[in-house]
């Protein structure tokens, strides 16, 4: 248990900041889960709800911004307080981006639901999404508990997302080669897959921020990366 500040309002501020991040994180994870489910089930209503709900994440980020600016100006935080405040700002920005990607998946779902389904791609996206949802849960736990081992573990789990993305990318290329009628749907699905992969990167960035908050320095090791889609050509097949 950490010592309390002499000025109690300071502890209250920091506690409020933590609960804002927890709320934002829970919401972001939920949005991703709903977006992936809407895609898999071609559920237009659910997709619309994801699009509408994104505004709540944006509003929470604004609250975190206001809070951190206020804390920096009034409290002149030092040491772990300073890191907690800077990290909250950074985590909120990453969660906001995660929300945006979920919203974009939902928008594309509206378009995709007007087209024929392509193979099992939507199911593969949902599998990838579940992996990333697990990472979001893990990183939120790590943040709430100040658990550096958990944060580092999440950071390493992103490699699996990269591998899934690479394989999905291949799968979609194959569908497009099979039948040019699939190209429009597959292009949207490529973006959807890329969105999930980017969410994984944002989670990784949050994990690094949590590591920094606890240890006072960034994780030393470069993390393994396996997203090979940037260098993939047709001749691979």
């Amino acid at each position: 248990m950490k010592n309390e500040h002499i000025v109690h309002a300071y502890d209250k501020d920091l506690g409020r900041l933590e609960s804002l991040i927890a709320e934002m994180g829970g919401l972001a994870e939920h949005q991703l889960a709903d977006a992936a489910e809407a895609l898999a089930k071609r559920d237009v209503q659910l997709a619309r709800r994801v699009i509408e709900t994104d505004a709540r994440i944006d509003a929470l980020e604004k609250q975190v911004d206001d809070f951190t600016i206020r804390a920096l100006a009034l409290r002149q935080p030092m040491a772990d307080d300073l890191r907690a405040i800077i990290v909250a700002l950074k985590v909120a920005a990453n969660l906001e981006r995660i929300g945006d990607y979920a919203k974009n998946i939902a928008k594309r779902t509206l378009t995709l639901s007007t087209m024929d389904p392509v193979g099992n791609a939507a199911a593969s996206v949902q599998r990838m999404s579940r992996q990333v949802q697990g990472m979001i849960q893990g990183v939120l736990d790590a943040y709430a508990q100040g658990d550096i081992a958990k944060a580092d573990d999440v950071r390493l789990r992103d490699e699996e997302v990269d591998l899934m993305h690479t394989s999905l990318f291949r799968e979609l290329l194959t569908y497009m080669l099979e039948d040019p009628h699939n190209i429009t749907a597959c292009t949207h699905l490529l973006f959807v897959a890329k969105n999930v992969e980017r969410i994984g990167d944002h989670v990784t960035s949050i994990a690094e921020a949590v590591h920094f908050q606890v240890a006072g320095e960034m994780p030393a090791e470069e993390r393994p990366k396996s997203d090979m889609t940037s260098t993939m050509g047709l001749e691979d097949d």
Binding site: I86, A209, E217, M218
Partner: protein, 280 residues
């Protein structure tokens, strides 16, 4: 043809080149003063326990800690101000440029000219502005003519950032200046005898924020030529003006290091509690 994709790791705490106009601490700075195994007693009571601290040349070292932690006692050991305190005993070694300042045969008056001091409350002599600054050079025989003395006085007032404000009232009593001006007058008085080290004991605690900012700006300029050791109760001030910080607690030197590290990632729990304003 498949290559790994190397992204730059995202970093949020690394030093930004050129950040902080007060300058980063220089790793290779020469050691101006060094304390080794310093114990200080007031009668039976031990005020400082085994202090080991190197003071780098031409940098600002801040001594911080709660009241009664021994930081002012330590500062006063550095120019032997404690010699005149009854029952005060200093053990261990304190050196300047490798030379023991407590060695037999050291001329304390001369030592205090090399190691000047500025106090918490501005304490100008009840003399004119000019005479306040001229006093030191006169007793140390630094000027052989009125013209030379003028030069010293003007240069010292200029360096202390005060000349522009007092040029027309050099004959007015120093005690008639504002608090901030009086403190800069005391700094001018200290640098008039060409010291190498300046000790400052909470130099801004009696000043308003604007006068404080002027003194801080001055300290930042002075460190080009002088080694400065400052006791301060304001952590923000220590963070703003110093390159090295030493944290004292209950007579012990708990932690020392680059100021940026002490305030962003202190190692000791006691330092952490103190700098973040927690109940230790």
């Amino acid at each position: 043809m498949v290559e790994k994709n190397h992204k730059m790791p995202i970093s949020i705490h690394t030093e930004v080149p050129g950040a902080g106009h007060h300058g980063e601490s220089k790793a290779d700075a020469a050691i101006k003063m060094a304390a080794e195994g310093v114990d200080v007693y007031y009668g039976d009571k031990q005020a400082l326990k085994n202090i080991n601290l190197n003071i780098p040349e031409c940098q600002v070292t801040a001594l911080i800690g709660p009241s009664g932690c021994g930081k002012s006692t330590f500062l006063r050991c550095l120019n032997r101000m404690n010699d005149v305190v009854d029952g005060c005993r200093v053990e261990g070694s304190i050196t300047m440029d490798g030379e023991d300042i407590y060695a037999k045969g050291i001329d304390v008056v001369h030592l205090r000219a090399r190691i000047g001091m500025v106090f918490q409350k501005p304490n100008p002599f009840p003399k004119s502005v000019y005479d306040n600054v001229a006093y030191g050079p006169k007793i140390h025989g630094l000027a052989s003519s009125r013209a030379e003395m003028d030069e010293i006085v003007f240069a010292s007032l200029e360096r202390a950032g005060l000349l522009g404000e007092v040029r027309d009232r050099l004959d007015a009593p120093g005690t008639g200046l504002s608090g901030g001006q009086q403190q800069r007058l005391c700094i001018a008085r200290a640098i008039a005898v060409e010291p190498e080290v300046i000790l400052m004991d909470e130099p801004c605690s009696a000043l308003d924020p604007i006068a404080t900012a002027k003194i801080e700006e001055l300290i930042d300029e002075l460190k080009e030529n002088y080694t400065i050791i400052m006791v301060t109760h304001s952590m923000q001030q220590a963070a703003r003006v110093s390159q090295k910080t030493a944290f004292f607690h209950l007579g012990e030197l708990v932690e020392q290091g680059d100021t940026v590290d002490i305030f962003t990632r202190p190692k000791d729990e006691r330092t952490k509690s103190y700098v973040t304003g927690r109940i230790g």
